[in-house]
Symmetry: C2
Amino acid sequence: MVATPAWPPKSAPRLFVPGPLAEGTSVSLEGGQAHYLGKVMRAGPGDAVILCDDKTGEWLAEVSAAAKRDVTLSVVRRLRGREAVPDFWLCAALIKKDRFDLVLEKATELGVAAVRPVLTRRCVADKLNPERARAIVTEAAEQCARTALPGLAEPVKLDALLRDWPEERRLYFADEEGGAPASEAFAAHDGPAALLVGPEGGFDDAERAAIRAHPAAVAITLGPRILRAETAAIAGTVLWMGMRGDWNAAAT
Amino acid sequence: MVATPAWPPKSAPRLFVPGPLAEGTSVSLEGGQAHYLGKVMRAGPGDAVILCDDKTGEWLAEVSAAAKRDVTLSVVRRLRGREAVPDFWLCAALIKKDRFDLVLEKATELGVAAVRPVLTRRCVADKLNPERARAIVTEAAEQCARTALPGLAEPVKLDALLRDWPEERRLYFADEEGGAPASEAFAAHDGPAALLVGPEGGFDDAERAAIRAHPAAVAITLGPRILRAETAAIAGTVLWMGMRGDWNAAAT
């Protein structure tokens, strides 16, 4: 039997903080994070907290003082370096707020490197609250024990996305009018990739033509059923992660 | 150019009705469905409606009369037979209501044959409202243009599920402690399959041991991150459907 470390406990709270974190430094938390630790998790002096800074990895910290409005932690030691992130972007058209929240949460859990919200002609939403989006992504990363936050870009118009597309990155395009089965397309190509998914109602004809004409684009299909926009975003991401991401690597 | 039929329009409302449907028959709708057609979709005499009965397939119908509380339709002709459904069950532990609703909706969109809710020791929920669950599944099927509803079983305890398991059906078990990468396991086996996913907090040790000891069970992993229960259910379903379901078939 190998002795398994009982410390930190599996249930220790996880938080992203600005950092950079280093051994022996002290971290002060206020506002929502202090409330979460002190009131929700009832953490007191000596309790373990896992901190991440999206730069140096994951650290064990201990509560040194817990007052009503602020909690102070001291950083004990590094547990893991920042994870390697599969090179996959999710370029998802903005959709209704609650459905886009789901895309942000699931994309983070599934391990994407970046979410790039896209504006298309049939988008009913044209704004994304960056603080709100950042909070959803951060909470999802804490939940799934990621040590890296996905990048979160400003919403960009489709024509600008295509114009500035990095040529070495494959752009899988979930085309409702049909394309290669996603699993075949993903099996056939290794390297940086992205998935482009339209809004409810899809891309219009001019948009579809522009995407299909792009040299990096490969039209794919996600099966014979009509998937909701957020389902297509999640499904394409799952399939790429399962086949080309890090789901095949040995757990670390 | 091939002329495309303008009738029924793509935006025609879709509804599941008890049936069985047949050409020339008349269908009366009341309650929520009448309200949806008359008030939400503002359907009037002559408007096209797509009807499915989960038995005979998909039919074109036309509104013959629309009153305040009931709408009458006449069935014109069959558009498609009932779809072939990939032989995949999702056996998902009951979780919080809103999260299980998401599982029901996404499993339907993704094309499962059946959802079998499972009761385990760490389940915080032990009941599923069957009407509510049926409504979610039906609405999702209408949304994604399925002509078959997934089966929806009563919640069953894990030990009963394992005891009565049909021996020819592979039972993929999303094991947080590790297993074969899901894509490898799915690539290695063709035939009837099911995915078993635990609740938040996972299966306990005795449950894990019982599952692993089952001759039909194959432990799989869905990557290095900790997925929420509903994310694991959706992700495992996507990956099986994308690799082994009907996502590779030519669109019909």
